[in-house]
């Protein structure tokens, strides 16, 4: 699936470029590049002189040679441009061909039917098993699979895609490597990621960067001035000849003037602009970066702000339990044990991390709690708590443990006549300010303490941002977190600025799969409530956001760098 890196010196490409170079002699195509256009006009004029001389039998080697050089200049410029465009065309052809060959297995009730991927509509459910290519962008509704997304992201390690949660989006054209998933198609035909990619590759040659346009203007004006220099030169020469009394001493024949003109005008820059693009792309490939066009390489130099979403890019993506803060008079082991019990049924990474931390710190083994004794209380949007009710058994008393958002647990405790200690409230505040998420754990009417769920900043990211700053690129973190958390993470990661964004409306538009999702599936406190509503920018390939950002950037004529998908998905490996 991954488009093979097309070498510029591929014989087929060269042949096609050579043909195109001839085809581009069409005046309409030539006139797009004024410098080469006037060179071609000069070549035409000199050819006319050469033909006239030939007919008159006085063709000089000089005129003949100049004619050849001029045409060579024009053809070479055309060839370089055709070669640059040829790469894009070849890539687009490859992508289009590969897409039309994909077969989809659509689920109709319980039955499967085979159909072309291009006929899938939004809302169709398809089955993908190991070895299948995912036929369209969509959301995993059932199952978990490892997916090779290298064609899109360039990341060679497979990523996990599973139903529910953050990792449910899949992209058409990627390959399932293991297991079986059901995917609900989320885009209409022609609107998928691959279609946009084809459009982008094909359109690359038409999009000129602001710099290129400005350079074109400068080259054109210089060409005009040098045209004036050369046009007026015979008058200067004639006058000098007359004054010197040596008429005809200066050779101002057409071939001489045209060759002087072509030497003066910026033919090299004008003609080789596209070749410069090619060399840029090739140099990037050596650094394992695939650029879709030479224009993109140029545009990359203009990046001055890098927008990064927080979760998964700057932070590891999942909050991890980092600390147990017991309430006064409570042993920290007791808090850890209760928190672990309450998290046993919690399969979210956060829940698992609590169990892991308890094991690491206090060597508390995970116990198998079977149904008769233990009843798990799932998280709901209303209670904003989860936990476990243990019936009295084997000589142990009955216990009811809850963990959740501060407010909910406080209400729960106070309803039973318990008190919420001031020390715990302080701990909650402290954790919030430091950018963590406090999770209060209570047993019956007693508050045991707080678990600090930290958003862990990726190692080495601060140094990378410092490097970017050195290059003059400002980093801005986009997050839906509360201001305290955002500021704390921003400070820890060393980004220059952070931007909190997100309205419910935007989110619904940008993530259709979440729009009607109702209560989130996972439950570990108030945070998920907020995330589901207002976390706009954890976008994986295929999500609308990538494009939203990109087209917004274009409107302002300023290209924006997309954060490195490979980096972003490292956590998924």
């Amino acid at each position: 699936m991954k488009p093979a890196v097309v070498s510029s010196w591929n014989p087929a490409l060269l042949q096609r470029a050579a043909l195109d170079a001839g085809r581009k002699l069409d005046p309409r195509a030539l006139s797009r590049n004024p410098v080469i256009f006037v060179t071609a006009l000069g070549a035409l004029a000199v050819t006319a002189v050469a033909v006239r001389d030939l007919a008159g039998g006085c063709l000089t080697g000089f005129t003949f040679q100049i004619t050849l050089w001029l045409w060579f200049t024009v053809l070479f410029a055309n060839f370089a441009e055709a070669l640059a465009e040829g790469r894009g065309k070849a890539q687009a052809d490859f992508l289009r061909r590969s897409r039309s060959h994909i077969q989809a297995r659509r689920l109709r009730g319980a039955a499967e039917e085979c159909m072309a991927a291009t006929d899938l509509r939004k809302g169709d459910v398809v089955v993908c098993e190991a070895g299948d290519v995912i036929p369209a962008d969509g959301e995993v509704t059932e199952g978990i699979a490892s997916v090779d997304e290298s064609a899109i992201t360039g990341e060679s390690a497979p990523v996990i895609r599973e139903s529910g949660g953050d990792r449910s989006a899949v992209t058409g054209g990627t390959r399932v490597l293991s297991d079986r998933i059901l995917v609900r198609v989320s885009v209409e035909p022609g609107g998928g990621f691959l279609d946009r990619m084809i459009g982008m590759v094909e359109g690359a040659s038409r999009q000129r960067t602001p710099n290129e346009i400005a350079l074109g203007i400068l080259l054109t004006s210089l060409t005009l001035v040098f045209g004036a220099v050369v046009v007026t030169l015979p008058a200067f020469a004639l006058f000098s000849e007359t004054l010197a009394g040596q008429p005809g001493a200066v050779d101002t024949s057409l071939p001489v003037l045209v060759s002087l003109f072509v030497c003066l005008i910026p033919t090299t820059i004008g003609g080789l602009l596209s070749a410069i693009g090619i060399s840029g792309i090739d140099r990037l490939i050596r650094r394992n970066v695939i650029a879709t066009s030479g224009r993109a390489v140029e545009a990359a130099g203009d990046i001055d702000v890098l927008l990064l979403d927080k979760t998964g890019t700057i932070t590891l993506g999942n909050r991890e339990a980092a600390e147990f803060v017991p309430a006064p008079g409570v042993a920290v082991e007791r808090l850890a044990e209760a928190a672990q019990l309450a998290s046993l049924a919690d399969e979210t990474p956060e829940g698992r991390s609590i169990a892991v931390l308890a094991k690491e710190r206090f060597n508390l083994r995970q116990r198998d709690l079977a149904a008769p004794h233990a009843q798990f209380v799932p998280f709901t949007a209303q209670t904003r708590m989860s936990g476990v009710d243990l019936a009295a058994h084997d000589g142990q008393r009955a216990r009811r443990i809850r963990k959740g958002a501060t407010g909910s647990v406080r209400d729960w405790v106070q309803r039973q006549g318990g008190a919420f200690p001031a020390a715990v409230a302080e701990a909650v505040d402290r954790i919030s300010r430091a950018g963590g998420t406090p999770l209060v754990v209570a047993e019956e009417r007693e508050v045991l303490g707080v678990v600090n769920l930290k958003d862990v900043v990726k190692g080495g990211i601060k140094e990378r941002f410092a490097e970017l700053r050195g290059m003059g690129i400002r980093t801005v973190m986009i997050t839906g977190d509360n201001p305290l958390t955002a500021a704390a993470i921003a400070a820890e990661a060393g980004v220059d600025d952070f931007h909190r964004s997100g309205h419910a409306g935007d989110e619904a538009r940008a993530h259709p799969r979440r729009a009607g999702a109702g209560a989130p599936r996972r439950h570990d406190g108030r945070r998920h409530q907020r995330r589901a509503r207002a976390r706009p920018s954890r976008c994986r390939c295929g999500d609308e956001h990538r494009y939203a950002g990109r087209s917004r950037g274009r409107q302002h004529g300023r290209p924006r760098q997309q954060s490195d998908e490979a980096h972003r998905d490292r956590r998924d490996r």
């Binding site: 710099n211 400005a214 400068l218 001035v225 008058a235 200067f236 006058f239 010197a244 400002r474």
Partner: protein, 568 residues
Amino acid sequence: MVAGVMNVADFAYLVLFLSLLVVASGPLGFWIAGVLRGGPPVFLRWLVPVECAIYRLAGIAPATEMGWRVYAGTLLVFHLLGFIALVAMQLVQGHLPLNPQHFGAVPLGVAVNTAVSFVTNTNWQAYSGEASLGYLTQMGGLGVQNFLSAAVGFAVMAALARGLVRKSAAGLGNFWADLVRSTLYVLLPLSLVLAVVLVAQGVPMSFAPYATATTLAGAEQVIPLGPAASQIAIKQLGTNGGGFYGVNSAHPFENPTPFSNFLQTFAILALPGACVLAFGRLVGARRHAWVVYGVMLVFFVAALGLSLWAELTPHPQLGAAVVMEGKEVRFGVVPSVLWANATTVASNGSVNAMHSSFAPLAGGVALFNMLLGEIIFGGIGSGLYGMVAMIVLAVFLAGLMVGRTPEYLGKKIEAFEVKMAAVAVLVPCVAVLFGCAASFLTEGGRAAVGNGGPHALTEVLYAWGSMANNNGSAFGSLTATGDLYTWGGACAMLVGRFGVILPVLALAGSLAAKKAVPPSSGTLPTDGALFAALLGGTILIVAALTHFPSLALGPVLEHLLLGAGRTF
């Protein structure tokens, strides 16, 4: 070799001049920047009621902001009115008062040429003042335009500075306010002081008819008088250069003493130099302004050095150490060469020696100074805004080298800015080339030359270079009263002036509408040696590629032939 010929006094003269120029530029720049921001300096506060009275009389609301189109339109209409008044004055001067010599109407071609010339701050003179113009025409017509055309230069510079400073704004300030303030608070006070000093040195300031004297030899001699001092003061300060008398500052009444000569040379460069620093203050980039000033100074000193070398090298034919033909014995070689370079870099155009009589290379350097586009100090305001157009090109080229969209003083330089800067830089070049071609291809153009060989080509090139770049100095041996030079010259002067002002105002308008970009490490610092080198290189390359073919056929060829023993 130069040192051997130049004596201590010559060196002292040059050093004194350059140090005075650099030292005076700072305070003058502060003064100008203050005025263009809206406030007169403390010692001129008493003039504020006059300013208000002018606004009331003319019905101007000085606080009204103008977009660049309105600003440019107002400027054009203002100049058109000035032009019409000036032409009319010359045509009907026979019926006007203060015309003791009873001069009749000026020929239409010359009248139009003169009017355009004074409106555009060129002051190319196809007439001889003492032989064709009455006192009222000189004072009320030419003198007034001397002030106003210089004030317009200040105004455009102020508009450009506002364009760079303002963020997401449409307005560039008020043209009328800029015009009134720079005339009232800068040009008038300075001219008054200079005029009084000149009168003290012996420059006439009189409405009396020409005096008649009998010389010792018994011949009748008419000695021209007139209100000269006031006009000479503004002619030098306002980079106008149009002399009261035909031979300009080589005339003993215009420039009577070595002191008046020094003072006038200083006055030529004082305000253009100060403009650079005023601009720096207006845009809040004073270090950058000093760097630009430094680039200009380097060009000026290099031109001066080359001219001096050419002048002081012993003449291979005559064997004499220096050639005095065409120079004022009162002043000597070094002050004359200094003046020639000052007047050609500064778009002034007044002369105290005949440039045609200079050594070929010295004349060529004077010509090259003009062909650079009058941006080495240049005219009042115009030198600076011409230089900014060049800076935009330099910054753009530098940006391409590192692959970033270039910025200048926090504003992104994009397609439109490059287009306008390229037009502003290249239009005068094209006007020079086509003007020359027209001269060479027409009988009238060829017949006007006064010498033969490459020198003749230089004469023509100098004339068009001078007109199209709004300098106005004459090489000295070209007969410029033919139709081609009067009418064609008028066109060249208009193109050279407004072909730069309009793109510069458009540039200012476009920059004002932009947001400011904070400087990052990818921004080319505009206050360092690298920038200075880039700017110098861009100036040289644009001028060199455009004009070297013609310079090679003119002064360079003449210099080589002189070495081979041929003179023209």
